[in-house]
Symmetry: C2
Subunit: 308 residues, 2 copies
């Protein structure tokens, strides 16, 4: 059994490679829900959908999120109205997922139950779990503005504002979703996917019990650095790390993960920093980590499994 701690695009691409190497039924993806947002009354779970759509082979190759061949009639029509939410694009077919999710929540289903239903509907064999069924909300404390929601930061402001702090509202009172702690305890390998350590992996670790469950199996935990040659491949991880006082390098990542993971996989571009990573108390494995397609993702998955 393999458990993976997941954010969105980077994690989804890694999982897509992983299921080329192992039986999908052996894999549990534990996915960030701190990015979840209620828009127009609809419950949107961006990371869960990115993981499911990617594993289904249905994700937009160009965007990395949303569906390939999507249409945008609803959003186009929304522009007629003085909507406060036109900045968040919801594709027509993607809307169906949010309509279904919202209705199931209204019917009393838990997020983990309906997420399994969504994954099954897409024929995804991986067990896709939200980290928690409780409301968890990543808030960004932005200079001059105060706290704003993650999507407001990420989509509306295109992560182009300075962040002073990050908070996971609701985390303290949240419980891991059914299956999360068992998946971590039972896993032969736990993968910390190449996701943003602050806003993708951070919320997972903020759910009481998860950090301890990962640390308890530290020897079997392999993290993949999302920082390559001092920069994030995608998104604001580099900027956020710097703004919050972390070193923007694989060494900075090692300092964040050393208590949780015995091994850090870094890209060949960072080979020279392997010694510095090991000085932080982690084994360092150097390998190609940039996943341009499923073949490279599968190769990276083999490296990760071999490193455990």
């Amino acid at each position: 059994m393999i458990a993976a701690l997941c954010g969105g695009v980077g994690a989804a691409r890694f999982l897509r490679g992983l299921v080329e190497v192992v039986d999908p039924g052996e894999v549990t993806a534990i996915v960030n829900t701190g990015d979840d947002v209620v828009l127009h009354g609809l419950h949107v779970s961006p990371d869960l959908d990115t993981v499911t759509y990617t594993l289904a082979g249905a994700v937009s190759q160009e965007r990395g999120w949303g569906l390939e061949g999507e249409t945008w009639a609803a959003m186009d029509a929304l522009r007629r109205y003085p909507s406060s939410l036109a900045w968040f694009s919801l594709g027509d077919r993607d809307l169906a997922t949010h309509l279904f999710r919202t209705q199931r929540l209204r019917e009393g289903a838990s997020l983990s139950t309906l997420t399994a239903e969504v994954a099954a509907a897409w024929g995804v064999g991986v067990t896709v779990l939200p980290v928690t069924d409780d409301r968890l909300e990543t808030l960004m404390d932005v200079a001059g503005e105060g706290e704003i929601g993650f999507q407001d930061y990420f989509v509306r402001r295109r992560h182009a504002v300075a962040v002073r702090a990050v908070r996971f509202r609701g985390a303290g009172a949240s419980k891991p979703a059914p299956g999360v702690l068992d998946a971590l305890a039972d896993a032969e390998v736990v993968v910390v996917c190449p996701s943003n350590p602050i806003v993708s992996i951070g919320p997972l670790l903020a759910v009481p019990g998860v950090r301890d469950a990962v640390a308890a199996v530290r020897e079997r935990v392999v993290a993949v650095s999302p920082i390559v040659a001092g920069a994030a491949l995608k998104g604001p991880a580099d900027r956020l790390l710097a703004e919050l006082g972390h070193e923007v390098s694989v060494v900075g990542v090692a300092r964040l993960y050393a208590g949780l993971a015995a091994t850090l996989v870094v890209d060949e571009a960072d080979a020279a920093l392997a010694g510095a990573v090991e000085a932080e108390g982690m084994r360092c494995v150097v390998a190609p980590t940039v996943m341009r397609g499923p073949a490279e993702a599968a190769a990276l998955a083999r490296v990760v499994l071999g490193a455990a």
Copy 2:
């Protein structure tokens, strides 16, 4: 000033004719919200939308509701999931209206405020008012099942089940929306549109103050019979009237409206019943009432205005 008590398709078609005859700015449409339903978390107001889309010239000619040239990508995609709501079709562009409405309600806007915003966005000059900003819910007591929601009855069961009673939940505690009572008091003519007396006009009259406000200006109130030659032109009005013990004829309609309206316009097909209508205490005007297009609707509007 003209005030119109409105349900959906029949009322919308009448209004479309009325604005050919008078300045739209002189017209206030007071619209049923008992059909409103929250689906997938979205607030859907079928009659308000039918009135607005029809006045905008954007309604589907074939269906009478929804938008012309609509696409259905979201609903098609919803079929992938085990949704309990696939029986209710929401077009992609129509969804934008529900997204906007739901978001505005979440922002604290009243239904009447956002309805005015929707009407303005469509360039509709008529004042479109929900009868109330409060939640009003038409419930159908169905033999063998008990109470079900109106859309469940109308759409899911295609009104093919026997109704024992109709109730307007929330009506007792509701208040007329701002402008409703003034529009009735100030109108030179109040039109009871050719809508279902039980489930379209009924909810309007169930809002405290509305029935009295209409009755107070009875001499200026003109109703158009939705029953022609003993049958409804559209929908279950005939069946419902019979099931609830009313006569399915213009005389039965006269008995329902005699306390509210001085005049009943009946179709030429019912000319022979004019005396029986007058015996119920209403003036009876005989005219073509079947609106195949805007020209016939405009002619009917002229008859109604002339009858007041």
